[in-house]
């Protein structure tokens, strides 16, 4: 940051010399002397000055933006939602109404106007163009008018920014356009009124030159104005985004927190509520970067969420790849559901679900760390495992395996994509 140049806040004109001195590490006086000195070499000094004025931002503006960025980062709420919204962009642009904007003193305008007039006169004398006083004076009046119009624009814009109302900025632009049109009309009327075509030509050329000069003076302000307009708009977008986030938090998180307080005596309820809220919030935060938009994984996640809600037990789903949801896939999802339900019911611990979908088929592993059970000891009339898991998989061309020990139970399901290819299920 320090390597970047900014215009100084302590300034006589625009703070260019101060900024340059700070940037180069030399005295301000020296820079100013060089600036003035180089004016006598084809006006190089003022041109360079103007160029820097146009392109180098004011010190206060940039640091305000930077500070804002850090603030946004330090704010835990915004940090939480970082992936959802382009928070950094917004943060950089936010806060324009409160920002301390260096106000432009009337003195600056006066100095600028005098310098401009002097430049035009010097230019015309140098090129040998003999300007008559009767042409110059009305033009000076017109320039002054333009400056006044511009100043009015500046003040209205400031009010507009403070009020943060939408209509003010385009209106101000319109006013500016109208002012310029009026100035041009005025010039033509004055010149045409004098009757002489020769004089008119000279005046048109002169007024064009003046207009060019005015445009040159206005350009930095127009640029600045445009930037501020953009900042303000970004601020508004950010504001509405914040409102949306607040609304969402109110509807979801606050409601859940209220429910949790009511059910504080029941650990199961609290876990269930918290888990459901967590899932919902995650889905919302990561909606843009959601990994598996394909149908199968989504369905598996849905049935796992259902099991979590029913039993208040955490079901962790890890999925690699995804597949279309076919009829067989549907059967697989049902088998997974049954296996997960069994896991949360009998296992009583966190259930891990791992799904891997490849070109050959889909494998799903459902693992719990419960006490396990003896498969051979399961009575024949118990439909749960035998029918809903093993039988269902077999009917749909897949396989199911259940491995249970004292350390837990794992259900392994395999469904080949093409039923003609029967891959061994690990």
């Amino acid at each position: 940051m320090s390597a970047k140049m900014y215009r100084s806040q302590e300034r006589i004109l625009a703070g260019v010399c101060g900024g340059l001195a700070e940037h180069l590490g030399i005295k301000v006086g020296l820079v100013r002397a060089i600036m003035i000195g180089t004016t006598f070499f084809f006006g190089a000094g003022p041109v360079f000055y103007g160029w820097l004025w146009l392109l180098v931002p004011m010190a206060g503006e940039q640091s305000a933006k930077d500070k804002k960025l850090l603030d946004a980062d330090g704010n835990p709420r915004l940090k939480l939602f970082r992936p959802g919204a382009a928070a950094a962009v917004d943060a950089a642009a936010a806060d324009s109404p409160q920002r301390s904007r260096p106000t432009l003193a009337f003195r600056d305008v006066l100095i600028g106007g005098v310098l401009l007039i002097a430049a035009v006169i010097v230019f015309s004398v140098q090129t040998g163009l003999d300007l008559q006083l009767s042409t110059v004076i009305p033009l000076l009046v017109i320039i002054l008018g333009a400056f006044l119009a511009w100043m009015q624009l500046d003040s209205t814009r400031r009010i507009g920014l403070l009020n943060a109302t939408k209509m003010n900025t385009p209106m101000a632009l319109l006013r500016l356009g109208g002012g310029i049109a009026l100035v041009i009309t005025g010039v033509i009327v004055i010149v045409a009124g004098s009757g002489s075509w020769q004089l008119m030509w000279a005046s048109v050329v002169a007024s064009l030159a003046v207009l060019a000069g005015v445009a040159l003076v206005l350009a930095p302000w127009v640029l600045k104005f445009w930037r501020e307009f953009q900042d303000e708009r970004a601020g508004r977008i950010r504001e509405s985004e914040r409102a949306e986030i607040a609304a969402h938090l109110h509807d979801s998180v606050l409601q859940t927190l209220a429910l949790i307080q009511k059910n504080a005596h029941s650990a199961t309820d609290v876990t269930r509520l918290a888990r459901a809220q967590e899932r919902e919030l995650r889905e919302w935060i990561y909606q843009d970067t959601e990994r598996n938009s394909g149908a199968l994984v989504e369905r598996v996640k849905a049935v796992c969420a259902e099991a979590e809600d029913l039993y208040g037990q955490v079901v962790e789903v890890v999925a690699v790849g995804d597949a279309e949801l076919t009829e067989q896939g549907n059967a697989l999802v049902q088998a997974v559901r049954e296996a997960v339900m069994n896991g949360v019911r009998h296992g009583g611990t966190t259930v891990s679900v791992y799904l891997e979908a490849g070109p050959k088929g889909v494998d799903v592993f459902v693992k719990d760390r419960g006490p396990g059970f003896d498969i051979t000891a399961v009575p024949v009339d118990r439909l749960g495992v035998r029918e809903s898991v093993v039988g269902r998989m077999q009917r749909n061309g897949g396989t199911a395996e259940i491995i249970s020990s004292a350390e837990g139970t794992e259900v392994r399901l395999h469904l080949p994509i093409d039923s003609s290819v029967t891959e061994e299920a690990k």
Binding site: L69, N75, P76, R282, N292, V320, Y354, F365, K367, E410
Partner: protein
């Protein structure tokens, strides 16, 4: 595990004071918390001053240039040999997880992990091993692909054995269970996991982090 009864010195870096104190209370008695830090700058100062064995590092942190945990690891770059970083996060995003691993973290666990599990993970990281959660294993499998593919660079693919180990971890197996299932020693499992971690850190395969984001990995 075969960890000698020696205290492991840790620094906790997280911007939530409640989480820090909760974690401190949850850690096993053989793990000593030297310092806590809440921002990137504080973290770098604390880690440099304390020279802990393990840093428990939140992925998202305020301060610095907004890079969070990555920036802390980068700021302590010279100490990577002696100080190990274990990333902690509530985030499910592959970008967060993979980027902090690639910055040099030796493992990644979610914040919902139990006290016993996290103590175990700290011991493992302190012992020079890598800690993979099922979700991280899932990311690895997704990033490197689950099928055997021919690539020139050895770093760009997982060996058949590494694939097997990753799959089992993704299925929720502990290292011990993986060892039992594959009829290998725990040490061998740890070697495989460390090799995968190294590949994840060094592989240039499609610029893994960007790849993960592009593929809209969770």
């Amino acid at each position: 595990m075969s960890v000698p009864p020696k205290t492991i010195r840790v620094v906790i870096v997280d911007d939530h004071a409640i989480f820090r104190s909760g974690l401190k209370a949850d850690l096993a008695p053989d793990i000593m918390v030297l310092a806590e830090a809440a921002t990137v700058e504080e973290a770098i100062t604390a880690v440099t001053a304390q020279q802990p064995d393990v840093v428990l590092l939140d992925v998202h942190l305020p301060g610095g240039r907004g890079q969070g945990g990555r920036e802390v690891i980068a700021g302590c770059g010279s100490m990577l040999g002696t100080t190990k970083f274990l990333a902690l996060s509530v985030s499910d995003s592959a970008e967060d997880v993979v980027s902090v691993i690639r910055a040099g973290a030796r493992g990644y666990v979610t914040k919902s992990i139990s006290g016993a599990e996290i103590s175990d993970a700290v011991r493992r990281v302190a012992g020079g091993d890598a800690v993979f959660s099922p979700r991280l294993a899932g990311f690895v499998l997704d990033a490197f692909g689950t099928a055997e593919v021919a690539v020139e660079d050895e770093l760009d693919k997982l060996s058949a054995r590494e694939l097997e180990v990753m799959r089992l971890i993704a299925r929720g197996y502990s290292y011990k269970e993986v060892a039992k299932a594959l009829f290998i020693s725990i040490k061998t499992v740890e070697t495989h996991v460390s090799a995968v971690l190294r590949k994840l850190q060094l592989s240039s395969r499609h610029e893994l982090t960007r790849w993960a984001a592009d593929r809209r990995l969770l």
